[in-house]
Amino acid sequence: MTIEKKISNESATLIVSGRLDTQTAPELENELDSVLSGLKELTFDFANLEYVSSAGLRVILKAQKAMNAQGSMKLTSVNDSIMEVFDITGFLDILTIE
């Protein structure tokens, strides 16, 4: 998994590629911890993300909770497999996906 960050003032975009699974989820969690403070807008670009496991979901949920308190969060370019996972787990209702 690779993470690319684009931060400007109070908004940040994280471009996540590869697999977001049990192994790689902590890495994304660390990145988020470093950018979340004072952030008003958070965007996940999942164009190149192949797979999300429950560990990944956990991180995404955590980020969503944080952003609900201080601004807004959205996901872009989510592929079908991941959408299915979001669907099964009820995440579609709580996430903003473009």
Binding site: T22, S54, K65, S81, E84, I88, T89, I94
Partner: protein, 935 residues
């Protein structure tokens, strides 16, 4: 004579039969047409010569030979052909002409006979050619032509001997009937018998009469009626006219004689009266004067019309005005200004019984002198004169005038029969019943005469004319008229028929011929008969109709083409074109349709248990029916295959279903294989299809020799054989339809199975797609510019590997994740044809194995999978602490982000992704088995 006639007539028929049989049954028929016509012409010419001799013809008794010479050229021309007729006519005619100089035939009819024989040949030729369409006529026409020709012959005899009309006419009268009948019979019999032999019913009779035949019949009827009517009319007219003529001729002679006698009698009496008047002095000398001049009466009449003096005393004092007869004198001489008046011999007014002839001359004193005498007295004076008047008088050519007195005693007759009674020479008549000038018949010296009489001055003047002379002109007129009419009407018949034929029938035939070609499908024919406006417009109408028809057909064809194209597209689109991606096999198929919609198809589909079914089939026939049958066959087979039925059983059932309602009698050949991709076992069945090519890895292609079953839909109750073949990785199978092996080049040579085999074995690479494309290219190269007649369909399958059961054992630490991930990836790759399988496998492996690593404290873990009946079973085994994930609480997925608990989602997701999960703890091990359904 009748016997002779029939015999003569039959010679021609004999020759005709002989030649006809020769022509139909022997090698003579192979003789060239011209030579044949010449031979037949010459033979009939000889027949004409034979007919001229005393053997071929027959004597009618006075040395005149009757013959049927004209029949020979007629038979030759009508039965065998125009040239033969002309040749026979010329031979017969020229012989007849020349024969005269050798004393072999009479000179009297030389020209007429030879010309008519030559003409007969030409008549036959022209009629056959223009009236009978170069076929022989019916026997009735044959007879008619024979008779008419002979009438012409007779007429020519008469006309060539006009200077001897009476004899010529007598000759014609005798010959006409036998010769006309003889020739008519000769031709009629010949045509009739030949028709019998050829078993043609008189001419070209069909079920329906041709216009020309109907027309011929009606025209013939009309002509015959017209002929009978005009002949009867002219005959009646001629008879009437000849009667009038005869009357006139006799009357003319009679009135001449009448007038002469009357004049002579009058002048005789006037002379006597003049003399008596000269000698009369007014005295009583009347007696003397009467006896001197031999008269009965001499009367003197005064100016008042009374007889004042007479030699007959009782007349004195008679009032002349009291009687009609005597008053005529008063009227003429006293009241009128006549100086003399003469009365013809008649009864007197004074006394009805007494006949007198009176004459009178006016006297100077106002009265007149009247002299009367009776027949005996004046006959003495004029008999001599009467004799001279009648003696050399002819009535017509051979008629005569006879004069007799009141008692029918002849006064004068040709041979001085004076004194004998009139009835002695055969003439009797009663003046009471037969009026003057009326014609009556008498026989004078055995000869029939037509007679008439006039009465004058006591004489009966009888004029007589021989009946034959009176009738001669009439008969000649009637004969010539009739003959001419026969000829004219015959000519008219032929001419009208010919004209109608030229103008209508020939044109109709032309049009019919054109129409026949059009109805036979040649719409490019145009009818072009422009001889008159009606036919031109008919031709135009037909051409226009055909043009419209052509346009409609073209439009319809275009529409049908469009619909067929559409059908082709539907058919085409029903074939799968997305090929499964699998590690275990590669498949490629292609169908190149010919111009028409055909019945080829291929099909493939994954079955539940990881097997793939594939088939190639060819429906009999082309077009929409074939396409529809193809759809039916395809659906039936697919339906059965998807229900898990074995190939042989699929065909057995499909055959039964396709046989139902197969009224069109269509059938389909098919080759169906079902490959178990896990084991490489190929089960297949062949229903009459071309044997596929099969290649073992590293070996050459060979045709699969397995025995084929009956084609599908051909017969009910067929059982198909079960075939099995174990594939090993690298094996290749190539299915095709006969569009490949039966592709033909411009020389109609077939591509053929051997060429296909040689070609595929020459290839280095046999990847399914490239194999199909290379074969197509080679077929195209072979075919060249020849059109593609049949669909070309092919399917190739390359078997790569078998998915077997796999397992992995690991020490569950974080480093082992990579190996487990790779294991999961290899499984995903094997099942790459399954949709979204990779995601499921990822989730299952990731979540379950993460739990084992993170929470189980196990020191050993194993993962294995297997595929069975379309289900993927994955088992996770570990020796960690007992933990049943199925009992874990499910997270509430409806809560908001803030309310959500982190955790529990992993197992939840796995549950969602799998069909079932089983957990058991045995032998100190957790065993979690998950089942994922494969499509």
């Amino acid at each position: 004579m009748a016997l002779h006639l029939i015999m003569s007539a039959s010679y021609n028929a004999l020759l005709a039969i002989l030649l006809y049989i020769l022509d139909k049954k022997t090698a003579f028929s192979k003789t060239p047409y011209k030579l044949k016509q010449f031979i037949i012409g010459v033979l009939f010419g000889l027949m004409a010569i034979f007919a001229t001799t005393t053997i071929g013809g027959f004597d009618i008794g006075d040395g005149t030979i009757m013959n049927v010479r004209d029949a020979a050229p007629l038979c030759a021309g009508l039965i065998f052909g125009a040239p033969a007729g002309i040749i026979a006519g010329l031979i017969g005619g020229i012989y007849r002409f020349v024969a005269v100089f050798f004393g072999l035939a009479g000179i009297y009819t030389q020209i007429a006979c030879s010309v008519s024989t030559i003409l007969a040949g030409f008549i036959a030729a022209v009629l056959r050619k223009h009236m009978f369409d170069n076929k022989k006529p019916t026997w009735l026409y044959g007879m008619g032509i024979g008779m008419v020709t002979e009438v012409l012959h007779m007429l020519m005899i008469f006309f060539t001997n006009m200077d001897d009309a009476v004899n010529a006419f007598e000759f014609v009268k005798i010959c006409t009937l036998p010769m006309v009948i003889g020739n008519g019979l000769a031709v009629g019999i010949a045509v009739f018998i030949v028709s019998l032999i050829s078993r043609e019913k008189s001419g070209s009779k069909k079920d329906q009469k041709q216009i020309s035949q109907t027309f011929q019949s009606w025209l013939l009827i009309c002509i015959v009626i017209a002929f009978v009517a005009t002949s009867t009319f002219s005959s009646v007219l001629q008879t009437g006219m000849s009667e009038v003529q005869t009357n006139k001729t006799i009357e003319m002679s009679l009135s001449d004689v009448y007038q002469d006698i009357l004049d002579e009698s009058n002048s005789n009496l006037l002379k006597k009266t003049e003399s008596i008047k000269e000698e009369y002095t007014g005295g009583a000398e009347l007696q003397i004067l009467a006896s001197k001049y031999n008269v009965i009466e001499v009367n003197i009449i005064d100016e008042n019309g009374y007889i004042c003096d007479s030699n007959v005393e009782e007349y004195i004092g008679y009032d002349m005005t009291s009687g009609e007869q005597s008053n005529e004198f008063v009227t003429a001489l006293l009241e009128g200004s006549e100086s003399q008046y003469i009365q013809d011999y008649r009864p007197t007014s004074y006394d009805d019984i007494t006949f007198r002839k009176y004459g009178a001359i006016k006297l100077s004193d106002g009265g007149f002198i009247q002299v009367g005498y009776d027949s005996t007295q004046f006959r003495a004076d004029i008999d001599k004169y009467v004799k001279t008047v009648s003696k050399n008088r002819h009535v017509g050519n051979a008629g005569f005038v006879a004069i007799c007195d009141e008692n029918f005693n002849l006064v004068t007759y040709r041979n001085d029969f004076e004194g004998t009674e009139l009835q002695k020479i055969g003439i009797t008549f009663d003046p009471e019943t037969i009026k003057e000038g009326e014609i009556f018949e008498s026989v004078v010296y055995d000869k029939e005469y037509l007679c008439s009489y006039r009465f004058v001055e006591g004489y009966y003047i009888v004029g007589a004319m021989p009946k034959y002379e009176a009738m001669f002109m009439k008969e000649v007129s009637v004969y010539v008229n009739t003959f001419m009419e026969i000829l004219i009407f015959a000519a008219l018949f032929v001419l009208i028929y010919f004209l109608i034929k030229r103008i209508i029938i020939d044109n109709l035939r032309k049009i019919n011929k054109g129409l026949a070609e059009i109805t036979n499908g040649n719409l490019n024919v145009t009818v072009d008969v422009r001889s008159n406006e009606e036919f031109a417009s008919l031709s135009d109408d037909i051409n226009q109709t055909v043009g419209t028809l052509k346009r409609y057909i073209k439009e319809a064809a275009a529409r049908i083409d469009k619909e067929l194209e559409f059908a082709k597209q539907i058919q085409y689109s029903s074939l799968p074109t997305v090929f499964p991606k699998s590690n275990s096999f590669r498949l490629y198929a292609e169908m190149i349709t010919a111009k028409e919609v055909g019945g080829d198809f291929y099909d493939f589909y994954m079955l539940n248990d990881g097997a793939i079914a594939f088939l190639v089939a060819d429906v009999s026939g082309k077009g929409i029916p074939a396409a529809m049958f193809m759809m039916r066959a395809k659906t039936v087979i697919r339906d059965l295959a998807e229900r898990g039925v074995e190939p042989d059983e699929i065909f057995t059932i499909a055959n039964g279903k396709l046989c139902e309602n197969n009224d069109a009698g269509m059938f389909v050949t098919a080759w169906l294989g079902i490959l178990d991709t896990k084991t490489g076992l190929l089960k297949f069945a062949n229903a009459g299809h071309n044997p596929p090519l099969f290649k073992r890895n590293g070996e050459n292609f060979e045709y699969m020799k397995a025995r084929s079953g009956m084609l599908l839909a051909g017969m009910e109750g067929i059982k198909y054989r079960k075939n099995e073949l174990q594939l090993t990785p690298g094996d290749t199978l190539y299915l095709y339809t006969d569009g490949v092996t039966e592709a033909t080049d411009n020389n109609t040579e077939l591509y053929g199975e051997q060429r296909l085999l040689d070609f595929v074995n020459s290839l280095e690479k046999t990847e399914p797609e490239s194999l199909c494309k290379l074969i197509k290219e080679d077929v195209d190269k072979f075919v060249g510019t020849a059109p593609q007649f049949d669909d070309i369909t092919m399917l190739a399958l390359d078997f790569d590997s078998i998915i077997g059961d796999e397992s992995i054992s690991v020490v569950p630490d974080s480093d082992s994740r990579i190996a487990v991930g790779a294991f999961a990836d290899s499984l995903s790759a094997k099942l790459e044809t399954q949709p979204k399988i990779a995601n499921k496998i990822n989730i299952v492996f990731d979540e379950i194995y993460a739990n084992i690593v993170n929470y189980s404290k196990a020191t050993l873990a194993a993962i294995s999978y297997s595929i069975e009946n379309g289900k993927l079973r994955i088992s996770f085994t570990d020796n960690g602490i007992p933990y049943n994930p199925l009992k874990a609480a499910e997270p509430d997925t409806t809560l908001s982000a803030e309310e959500r608990e982190i955790g529990g989602l992993g197992i939840f997701m796995v549950k969602k992704m799998t069909e079932s999960m089983e957990y058991e703890y045995t032998d100190d091990k957790n065993v979690l088995t998950l089942v994922i359904s494969l499509s």
